[in-house]
Amino acid sequence: MYQLLLTRKYLTSKVMPLLAMAAVTLSVATVLVTWSVMGGFLNTLLSSGRTLIGDVSIHWPNVGFPYYDDLIERLEADPQVAAAAPLIETFGVVALPDDQVHGVVVKGVDGPSYARVSGFDDSVWWRPIDEPLRKDRETREDPRLGGEGYHAGTDWNALLESGLTLSEPDGEAAVVPGIELSGWNFRRASGVYVPGAPAMSSRDGRTDYLNLFLPDGELTLHLMPLDSRGRGVETVTRTVPVANEFHSGIFEADSRTMFARLDLIQRMMKMDAAEKIVAPASPFVFDPASGELVQAQPEVVGVDPARVTTVLVRAAEGVPVESEAAIAAFRDRVADIYAEFAEAHQGEVPSSMSILVRSWRDQNRSMIAAVEKETGLVLFVFGLVCFTTVFLVLAIFWSMVSEKTKDIGILRSLGGSTAGIAALWLQYGAAVGTVGSGVGLIAAWLVVRNINEIHEWLGQNLGLVIWDPAVYYFFEIPSDMDWSKAATVVVAGVLTCLIGALIPAVRAGAMDPVRALRFE
């Protein structure tokens, strides 16, 4: 009982335990924030990995494979499959209206079916919104809110529809580049994009604004069809309208990827359906009608069906694709379906042995492994640094036991036992650890919850930019406080204090009461 009373009194009347508590608070908060950011980064990486690539992809690069409609039908007949969609993935070069030229990953997709296997419909950026974003409530900078100026008359619904179908209202095939590709859109701290409008002086002295809004214009796309050996055939160039822009939240995708309508890319890549012809044996043939020699025409012997490089597959609800084992099993099921398809089209499609069937986890494996290892390493290093708290607590408690030597003598004269005195200091250590860890937990929670605002403030006021989206993949600092991990860190914080208090507690308990009473 006297231990509880004195623990409370010592906690509230001394400066030194506050120092120990501050050390524990900082250690707990540091480890928790680190773990939350690294864990959040990994979780965001895992979830974003599926945003644009579905759960499993069946891939055959360069020339692609035909009869994909049959494959999709077979896949969608399986109860584990929710949807499948064709895709052509290739590299290209785009020239923007302001003469910028960028190398891009071009994805030819059928908008509606692609939306069924990915988060494409949510990623189309220029659309009507009812409510401003959380941090945009005061400034209302977001042009999608309507308002005045250049974007006042924009039909956002039409833009959205164009974006989703990758088509102009007149049916012309269009493209949807990533919102960071052109460099025309300025991302505000609130996450809102505002198209640039540089000021220009006109000849009569007035100031005009050049409104840069890519969906109002068109760009030039250069693609190079490849043969089965990956050699370029010829460069194909088309000028295509921009239907919309997309924002996936992944910087790499938003700055270097462009979606285009599937049939456009099939034509440009020479993967569309075409007649199969046989060249005549002789360049001229006798025309019985006219009785003259005429130029021989190639013989049409069939139709070469349209091809795609990839079919993306999305698992049905209830398939736990986040789990490594479950996604591997689902991938194997997709591979089995492909094997049946390959058997049905033997000789016309890649064999099941050579086709690439990969899960989203397979495609991101190296990055996931790197982040997991980095998380472990960072936690180990921080854990090691925080272990110094044990020695700090030990030093503080050693000093406090020395300061309280007379109190220990008094308590022994009142009948306090060796174990009772040691328990007092251990209890005190546990209290310091509990309070310190509790405050650390609250501090970490507040930091994690507001980490992007804090980062923004640091950038604005101190010029400190820690999180560069170009380096760290995502625009916002991902953070995810896992309460089971938080509990582990809090318990570790309390244990740290207990370990630090152990030696001073044993020393206090073993103190000679007579010497303690005579201590000056």
Binding site: M1, L5, L411, L414, P513, L517
Partner: protein, 248 residues
């Protein structure tokens, strides 16, 4: 007021302290006893072993081994055969200590300083069960010392005399049989010291306490029933003024 029969007796006590490599003998075969209800004053100069004797009687320390017939008995039970735990219980239940420099716990309020002794004795569950009773007794003791209005003050806000009264109340909270007082007035002016001694005398009378009081002040020692004079770690021989001097 005296009663017959020793409540505590010490025989042939030796105690040597080590000061680095030097051994300093403090007690050299000291034998003393106190009867139930008796007030004994141990009188001696500084370094004569008075406080050491008090620590041995209170079970805070143990006498040197290896000397024939060395023993301390409390109500016939040898302290030397008690375990650490039994000695802790002995201090918590049978003995009350009063020190020259009060030795109050500075973070605790007056009432808490008194009840902390009961907390040590009863433990967590025992104290919670007896809390009201203990608080009432502490308040009564402090009231008796004229400190009823100081219950929520801290020791730093009290005068020396008030602090010593709190220390005595703490020593008495567990209703001990033996009160061991080490220079209880040594840090007080004469008037306050007299008042403290008056309080002690009244309590001894009321509670039938045995008091063993150490002092270097003959005037203070004269308040006791009997005075034992120490010199060089032993009881001064007969004929030395003040030695084994029973009060009238």
């Amino acid at each position: 007021m005296t009663e017959t029969g020793p409540i505590i007796s010490a025989t042939n006590l030796h105690k040597t302290y080590k000061m680095g490599r030097v051994k300093v003998p403090v007690l050299r075969g000291l034998s003393v006893s106190a009867r139930k209800g008796e007030w004994v004053a141990i009188l001696g100069a500084s370094g004569s072993g008075k406080s050491t004797l008090l620590h041995l009687l209170g079970g805070l320390d143990r006498p040197d081994r290896g000397h024939k017939d060395t023993a301390i008995h409390f109500e016939g039970k040898p302290l030397g055969k008690m375990s650490r735990h039994e000695l802790d219980r002995y201090r918590a239940t049978q003995v009350g200590f009063v020190f020259q420099f009060y030795h109050l716990l500075p973070e605790l309020r007056v009432l808490e300083n008194v009840t902390v002794g009961a907390m040590v004795r009863h433990g967590l569950t025992g104290f919670l069960g007896a809390k009201h009773k203990v608080n009432r007794r502490a308040t009564e003791l402090l009231d008796a010392f004229g400190l009823g209005h100081r219950l929520r003050h801290r020791p730093g806000e009290l005068s020396g005399g008030e602090r010593q009264r709190v220390a005595i109340a703490r020593a008495l909270i567990n209703q001990p049989r033996l009160l061991l007082a080490d220079e209880p007035t040594g840090n007080l002016d004469r008037k306050t010291g007299e008042a403290i001694l008056d309080s002690l005398a009244a309590l001894r009378e009321k509670l039938a306490l045995t008091v063993v009081m150490v002092t270097h002040d003959q005037h203070v020692a004269d308040r006791a029933d009997r005075v034992i004079r120490l010199a060089d770690g032993v009881v001064a021989p007969e004929g030395v003024p003040g030695a084994e001097n029973a009060s009238p």
